[in-house]
Amino acid sequence: MARVELRNIHKSFGATEVIRGVDLTIGSGEFMVFVGPSGCGKSTILRLISGLESVSSGQILFDGEDMTRTAPSKRQLAMVFQSYALFPHLTVAENIGFGLSLGKTPKTEITRRVTEVAKILQLDSLLDRTPRQLSGGQRQRVAIGRSIIRNPKVFLFDEPLSNLDAALRVSMRLEIARLHRKLGDVTMIYVTHDQIEAMTLADRIVVLNGGRIEQVGTPMEVYENPANTFVAGFVGAPSMNFIRCCVDGDGVARFGPAGIRPTRPHEVSGDALLGIRPEHLALVDSGQGTFDAEIELVERLGAESLVYLRAPFLERAITVRAGGALGLSEQKLVGVQVDLTNLHVFSPSSPTLKQDP
């Protein structure tokens, strides 16, 4: 319902600058997900949009109207917190109707709206309970109910599923996606560190790092065409493999005994980093692939296996996504076939994700 624009936003806490110039436009009705490692500033941006924190400089606009100094309650937005922030002394119905009860809405109208919202979220049978009598998923639904009852223009979600167990997280994720469809063109801004949530829910993803935007794009754009090694390493699990190489004048990337020519266009020459997703590597017999490597570890996940390989010319182990029922043993030498159409070539100076070796 509202287009949200951030113009050159900066935010400092004391001497520490946590948001360093963010420009972003979130379309009306768009589901935008902010992802990034802890401390990257994703929650801070959300709090700046909500007005709970004020910007150090820059502008925030809703539908072109400057909201930078507007009080949170006047921004017509709703926020769902990780901790649910439900009032323990109020019933489910009172929690959902909290915002309406603060104004001059008649009681009958509040009851009608609460019933309506409870029906959408399947909370109708729980209206008289207190939050303590609810499960984590039900509590989060009440928190969502409290936010949708006022028909806000913008929805803000601050890691809403992080407190739930894995199974509940999956079902709540589906519910949020369903809710977005049901509510029509409501703008939703969602902060998470969970990539699956980001990939499945988002219309577009914003990848943040150190208070800056690294890339904005649809989930598949970000996955298939990462702007730099940070995005490439952060989005996707298991992470993209990086291999240090040298690109010669003919465009051939050389590392160890291997020399391959990536088919995607790129402008890097000399020292470079080759990025290959685990699913774009295949295991073949030794001597038959692009290069040989030794199996260090095999993680069998059922439907698939993750095979970790080492070779003298590789700085760290590389991961290969392989079939589930794999008759491979550790320490065995295998060949690795690289899919040349899905090779990414990055400049070594591109921002990188800090990884444990």
């Binding site: 709970l52 309650s73 709703a78 917190f81 901790s83 922030a85 915002g99 303590r132």
Partner: protein
């Protein structure tokens, strides 16, 4: 090794149990025992009176006077410091300048003994040159010399004010701790939903402070039931028994009139009243626990 440890544990526990038994259990049981006698507190000889001491209570006009005063004392000593403590905590919880100094100042009286507090307030209430009357005189009533502690209609309330002044610091500190434990998200919800400052305090902060209120009420109740020393020093139960509480009345009967048996009967009744009040309180506590965990 294990047996030696156990021996130590028993020995270390035995000492406090012994002290508790001699100083609490033994006097408690003795006063139950003496409440059925006419012991005067000195002589070895005394007679068993059965329930006659308790029957006498029903005809004791001063006992019922003490019951009324005790009720007023307990309710006021519970409500006043709780409300002022809550008010000060809400005021000082924000990042106001000098909040730390004010917190210390308001907490200080609790460190004083009731006797010192009593003396301070006797001085404040002094009719001719006391602080209170001096202010009233300066405010335009030069002939004002009301004797706050010597008038039956104001004596009890004057002591209640002094008591509340001392106890406020305690409830303030407990409420300040309670305020820091309110999750900031709950207050942020108020901000986003557009609650006014009054709505935020009344509908969110005060209900969320219930666990702190439980502690404040329990401490105030126990302290007010024990409240004897400040009454003793400021009014001695007078004038004309107008500030005579059950504890005062029991003291006067036992140690001034040497009717230890009758005094013990009064203390048994006081004990039963305290037990009932605390019992009701604990029942309520369970409900609070169900909501706030």
């Amino acid at each position: 090794m294990e047996t030696q440890n156990r021996l130590w544990r028993v020995l270390l526990l035995a000492l406090p149990i012994l002290v508790f038994s001699v100083l609490v259990i033994w006097p408690l049981l003795s006063s139950f025992y003496y409440s059925f006698t006419n012991w005067n507190g000195f002589n070895r000889d005394y007679e068993f009176l059965g329930l006659r001491n308790f029957a006498k209570i029903w005809t004791d006009r001063l006992f019922f006077n003490a019951i009324v005063n005790t009720t007023i004392w307990m309710v006021a000593a519970l409500v006043l410091p709780t409300l002022t403590g809550l008010f000060l905590a809400l005021l000082l919880d924000r990042q106001v300048r000098g909040a730390r100094i004010f917190k210390t100042v308001f907490y200080l009286p609790i460190c004083l003994s009731a006797i010192v507090v009593g003396q301070i307030w006797i001085w404040i209430y002094q009719p001719d040159w006391g602080l209170l009357n001096t202010f009233v005189k300066l405010a335009g009533n030069p002939d004002f010399n009301y004797a706050w502690l010597a008038r039956p209609d104001s004596a009890l309330f004057a002591v209640i004010v002094a008591w509340s002044w001392q106890q406020t610091g305690l409830s303030m500190v407990i409420y300040l701790a309670g305020l820091t434990s309110i999750p900031s998200e709950m207050l942020e919800v108020c901000e986003i939903e557009g609650a006014t400052a009054w709505q935020r305090i009344w509908r969110v902060v005060i209900p969320l402070l219930t666990p702190s209120t439980v502690v404040v009420v329990a401490l105030s109740m126990i302290n007010s039931l024990k409240g004897f020393d400040i009454l003793y020093i400021m009014t001695g139960g007078g004038p004309f028994n107008s500030s005579d509480t059950l504890a005062m009345h029991m003291y006067n009967e036992s140690f001034k009139k040497y009717l230890m048996g009758y005094g013990s009967a009064i203390s048994v009744v006081l004990f039963l009243i305290a037990l009932t009040v605390i019992g009701v309180y604990f029942r309520q506590l369970r409900k609070v626990d169900e909501i706030y965990g």
